[in-house]
Amino acid sequence: MRRPLWILAVLLSHWRRHPMQLATLLIGLISATALWSGVQALNQQARTAYDRAAATFGGARTAVLVGKDSATFPQQLFVDLRRAGWPVSPMLEGRVQIDGRSFRLLGVEPVTLPSEVGNAPAVGRGRLQSFVTPPGEMLVAPETLRDLGLKDGDRPQANGLTLPPLRVQAELAPGALIVDIGIAQDILKLPGQLSRLLVGKSKAPHATLESVAGDKLRLVEPSAESDLERLTDSFHLNLTAFGLLSFFVGLFIVNSAIGLAFEQRLPMLRTLRACGVSARMLNTVLVIELVSLALVAGLIGLVCGYFIAAALLPDVAASLRGLYGAQIPGQLSLKPVWWFAGIAISILGALAAAAASLAKAIRMPVLATAQPQAWQQAQRRWLMLQSAAALAVFAVAAALIQFGDSLITGFAVLAALMLGAALILPMILQIALALGQRSARAPVGIWFWADSRQQLSGLSLALMALLLALAVNVGVGTMVESFSRTFLVWLDGRLAADVYISAASDQQAKEIKAWLRDRPEVQAILPGGRADTQLGGTPIEVLGLPDHTTYRDNWPLLESTANAWVRLRPGDAGLVSEQLSRRMKLAIGDHIEVPAPGGSWLLEIVGIYADYGNPKGQIAVNFAALTRHFPQTPLTRIGLRVEPDKIAPLITALQEKFGLDDRNVADQATMKRESKRVFNRTFSVTAALNAFTLGVAGIALLTSLLTLANSRLPQLAPLWAIGLTRRRLAALELLKTMAVALITALFALPLGLLVAWCLLAIVNVKAFGWRLPFHVFPLQLIELLAVAMAAALCAAALPVARLARMQPATLIRTFVNER
């Protein structure tokens, strides 16, 4: 046991003498682990929240029966199915407005609810009676109760009714109100109606669905993913992709640090072998050393990852809420498996990054056989091989674009593009530098280019990291900017009314409208409304738009028939959102059947409109037609056209007259500000990760240059000896680094634009269902180029400064020690 410890001590003595190398190695591992596990922590946090939601609603995890062509169906079907042996439990879902805010109301039937539906509202054992007997109880999550500003036992008003007393139920997902089925029917004014039946897992024999329910119901099999999980997949994939990218960039650092340390320790390893350490023992100890370092770095990385996740969580939560309506708690809670996975990924990453060096150590002969010039041949062969691999990867990317049709494909194309570009980078640099060398005349100039080429093998990994980071920055920056521009234009058209009101009840809305009619500054009252239903098993919204010039003139349509707005009036035509049209492959002229309470509603599609930021598909129809087909639609939303200078006084008057607050009434500017704020937060996480990645790439470049600096003395010393000053040498070194960095950055720009195109044309379409126009923003590109050069300058400055201040004796020694 003592022997390996002695060998380990000898190996570790290297780091004591080269703390910078050790720092490089640790920084690489720490940043790789930190970013990866930070992103994983965020994903895990979100998934836990989705599970909670899924468990509450007994949603996608449970098989359900839904109406075939209507949003609700008579409860007699439930009785008939029970009598036929079906383990079904009824549910009624709808929305209620409390205090002008909309909540999801779920009516459940506790007696038949299948036990496997999860930890859903556990009606206290003794509480069954108070839950089911009027007035009943309304179960809410603690968060919702807080949001409402109410306390346990309060009875809020909604739909002109006093709701059952609120009861806190900790396991519930926020935003949902749970009541007994009978009470839900009263509140939603849907007597005897159900919106779905949960199917329990009991295997008792039962009659076929058709023999009991005819064609009125449709079975939706459970899916492993909940709706939220499916909707948010793209968001998490995006996060994961960034985490992975940072992880790999971190491993680039680790790889170069380990590679260099190994080269420097070769004589030591040989001496150890000569002194009687067997190859197996040596390799074992090398692995132990690496694993120990990875363990330390992994732990530090995990702590950093925790802080990164905690710092990003508010933005992630806001994005998920804004984009998908997912409620994520703001307090980070991590499972033990996260810690283990983080340590494991650190160790595996370190082993992967060290694989080449370890393999070399295993094959190392005890006797060194000098093979001068071999590296050059090897490098050329390596370059050819890499370039061939790059071309193959590009071919794969092209094939994927051609034949792939999923979000995963989109990311695969991106990954292939980046990998290919990274692989081909050394060849491009080689060619560029060779061209430079050919054009050079002065001897120092020729040396400048030739030496840069020789340096390439040591720097190429760091440059690849820089390339990837820059390309991703360009790509994401372009996408965000494109989105931002499109979104703002779209928002201007979409928020066409001047004032938006959300009344507390239909009754209040009626009173408000009556009051507004007498106000001269009000040019138009635009009632609006929204109903929920489902199409092909996925929930969609039906939006009612009043027939008014405000919409005809401003509402942005991507495609439409000539007289689309006129076609809406009779109520047999609708506009569909871009997401819905892509998801269900709907085009203008197609017909759809929308399940409505009174039966199926046939609509012809006369237009397609952008509906950015909405996870649900949407259909826009004439408002009057909507209220005919969905009589329960709340009539609480009102838009107003108002003379511009009368807006503020009108809002004040409304607030005073009807006791409305800022949440119930807002002007257009406020709405836009809110929307932009949500929008900006959506991309703040992307931006933060982007910056992290660029930072890690900068560190990679710095550490590569630092480790190279020492080994470059023998190349520099002869030049110093023949009369170049140290200052001049330092300047040349700096210039060389900047030159390769510039070439890399210039290559990164077109690559980044390609990445942006992929994001806009493939990933976004698959992930969100909308395609944005592609814009190039030259100023942004120049800015990034400057940032890249600044990063390279910073990275190069330290080793170069050291060179400029180097003692002549150190340079002399290179001649003495040269072997």
Partner: protein
């Protein structure tokens, strides 16, 4: 939301079903049986029974059940048992209202037992919609797809012939029940006293059924015949608060005599014995508590509970002294409120078959 299924189940003479209030064990859930009957109808002696009306539900009383057990055997002589039970429970007093506001809760239990296997299932329903219910004429008791239904030529006095159906994931039962003799009033002309403090129930039985049909265990059908017994009981407060459980026997004696016998246990360790001796001509005589006894002779451990599955029954005045043994000592009903219920054999002064139910262990 399994918690809501805190219904308890029936039992012996005065047994009942209740909405679970504490709900941790049968005994405590059973304590619900001792809950105040305020607002519900009271059980008083001297009630005239009318059929078929009394086969139907009595919603003015808190609890009620329709309870069938059958001792069966196949062509090769192998013994089986079958149980089919429907419980009704009112959550609060008052006339029944329609739809979801109906305060009735229904619970069904079904089981089959062989020497090596015991299968059971339970299901729940709310009243008011028709998932479960009982109608007196034509007679029909049902919950989900389980049902007990009067057949053609149904005679309310005999409550026969009937068809019984139940099915679950791993077993099913279909039986036809015929009886040539009239049903029998238990206790004192159908008034079954449970304590000295006024707790009682209305109780009648049909112990003379001949059963035939088919039971299926794990998709393996077996044709069976045998004897069956139905208990009908309703009450508002059948047990005193300090009564913890019971041990109930229904025995098919030779020459078509029947014996219903149960012991009520109290917290203080005392116990009360009740029962009726039924002659083939349908005369039912109450068994006196004094001098008669039922005593455990062997126990079986199930789920960490010790259950007395073998007994000695001694009624010296009737010349009866028998030892009982279970067909399957593991006839445990692991339902929301668990209890033991299964077929038994007995021998000694008399020999035959019957059913045993034990609660509160």
């Amino acid at each position: 939301m399994s918690a809501s299924t805190d219904l308890t189940r029936r039992a012996f003479t005065g047994g009942a079903m209740a909405l679970a209030l504490g709900g941790k064990s049968f005994a405590q859930g059973f304590a619900g049986l001792g809950e105040s009957a305020e607002g519900f109808a009271a059980v008083t002696p001297g009630k005239p029974f009318t059929f078929p009306a009394d086969h139907g539900p009595h919603p003015e009383f808190r609890i009620e059940w329709w309870y069938v057990t059958a001792n069966l055997s196949d062509a090769g002589g192998a013994a089986y048992g079958a149980q089919w039970t429907l419980f009704r429970q009112a959550m609060k007093p008052g006339g029944p209202s329609e739809g979801w506001t109906n305060q009735q809760l229904w619970m069904g239990h079904a089981a089959v037992t062989s020497a090596g296997t015991h299968r059971f299932s339970e299901t729940f329903a709310r009243g008011g919609l028709g998932e479960a219910g009982v109608e007196a004429a034509p007679f029909r008791a049902w919950i989900d797809a389980w049902e007990l239904r009067g057949l053609d030529a149904f005679d309310p006095q005999r409550i026969a012939p009937l068809e019984l159906k139940a099915s679950a994931a791993d077993f099913s039962t279909t039986l036809r029940l015929d009886a040539e003799r009239a049903l029998v009033l238990q206790g004192d002309h159908g008034y079954s006293r449970k304590s000295d403090r006024g707790q009682a129930s209305y109780y009648y039985s049909q112990p003379f059924y001949k059963a035939s049909g088919r039971i299926v265990i794990d998709d393996k059908p077996v044709d069976v015949t045998g004897a069956a017994w139905m208990d009908r009981e309703w009450s508002s407060q059948p047990l005193a608060a300090d009564q913890t459980g019971w041990d109930w026997f229904s025995l098919h004696l030779p020459s078509d005599e029947k014996l219903m016998l149960y012991r009520l246990r109290q917290k203080d360790g005392r116990e009360n014995l009740f029962g009726n001796w039924i002659t083939p001509d349908g005369r039912s005589a109450e068994i006196a508590a004094n001098g008669n006894s039922i005593t455990p002779t062997a126990t079986t451990e199930i789920d960490g509970r010790k259950l007395p599955t073998s007994w000695r029954v001694a009624l010296p005045a009737r010349g009866l002294a028998v030892e009982t043994a279970p067909l399957n000592p593991k006839a445990w009903m692991g339902t929301s409120f668990p209890y033991w219920e299964g077929p038994i054999r007995f021998s000694g002064s008399h020999a035959g078959i019957g059913y045993l139910e034990m609660t509160g262990y």
